[in-house]
């Protein structure tokens, strides 16, 4: 999976590394700001209130 990704990215090694770092940063941002909040909201909604 990751070997195929490495081959699919064009350019010399340093360009590949740069692209991968940018890709990883984008994925981490999307996780922290979009995916994880969504999971926290809809899969594990934590109630802190008292109700009947």
């Amino acid at each position: 999976m990751y070997a195929a990704l490495w081959r699919a990215i064009p350019g010399p090694v340093w360009v590949k590394v740069l692209i991968l770092v940018a890709l990883a940063a984008g994925i981490l941002w999307a996780l922290a700001y979009v995916v994880f909040p969504w999971i926290s909201n809809s899969v594990f909604p934590e109630d802190v209130t008292v109700r009947e």
Binding site: A32, F36, S40, N41, R51
Partner: protein
């Protein structure tokens, strides 16, 4: 191939836990604090405009209003309860939670709309009283994750001040005690906490959060009673103006 997928999944789970327990509080907590500070500044500017105190540096508007003694709690105005969910109407200031602690209180206790909000985070139980009214002003917030507005709720000590700021001024409460209850014990938010049906003669503030931390098995309840009222034109309470450096 399968091995790589499983390792990726494992990394994602670890990232989620790290986000949930740590990173999320920093991201969301920061956003909630900024939103509350913006609201406070907006009220302060409004009030200065109304009094015509728009001066340049050195003008009357630049001088922090002097701190005064609290007025009688009977003089405190009572806001009408907002009808829209997540409508912000007050900020919560608790010196025990830190000098820069400020969170926005909004209408409703809906978990995803209010309690998980990046701008508000503290929810007012619909139907409970508003600040300054005889009865119980009941609010809820997370103790962990989503900014954790009540992360340090159990650090409160008897006599600690809790301030509710609105456009009109500051409602001052003194913390009285903690209680641990089951999630269905709704009489903690009754007009007289734990005495449903009784006629209120005091102004209570009840804060509810989850207990133990990272669990929803029980609720931790913090009770306070109103002790003072500071109208905005008279200046912020001394404890707060010292904290804010005259910002309010």
């Amino acid at each position: 191939m399968l091995g790589e997928a499983l390792v990726t999944l494992g990394v994602l789970v670890v990232l989620y836990i790290g986000w949930y327990a740590w990173l999320n509080d920093i991201i969301v907590g920061g956003e909630q604090t900024r939103a509350a500070t913006e609201l406070q500044q907006q009220w302060a500017e409004q009030s200065r405009d109304e009094r015509g105190e728009r001066g340049g540096p050195g003008g009357p508007g630049a001088v922090p209003a002097p701190a005064v003694e609290a007025l009688s709690i009977e003089l405190a105005p009572v806001l009408a309860e907002p009808s829209a969910t997540n409508e912000a109407f007050a900020t919560l200031l608790v010196p025990r939670f830190g000098a820069d602690y400020a969170r926005t209180i909004a209408q409703g206790i809906d978990v995803s709309a209010v309690l998980n909000s990046r701008r508000t985070g503290v929810g007012h139980y619909p139907g409970t009283q508003m600040p300054g009214a005889l009865g119980n002003f009941a609010i809820a917030a997370h103790r962990n994750a989503n900014g954790a507005p009540f992360g340090e709720l159990l650090d409160l000590r008897v006599g600690d001040r809790v301030y509710i700021e609105t456009a009109a001024g500051w409602y001052e409460y003194a913390f009285r005690g903690l209680e641990y209850v089951l999630p269905n014990e709704v009489d903690v938010i009754a007009p007289v906490p734990r005495a449903a049906g009784a006629e209120p003669e005091e102004r209570f503030l009840t804060m509810t959060t989850c207990n133990p931390r990272f669990s929803t098995a029980e609720r931790a309840i913090a009770y306070s009673v109103m002790t003072g009222w500071y109208p905005r034109e008279g200046g912020a309470p001394a404890e707060l103006s010292a904290m804010l450096g005259g910002k309010a």
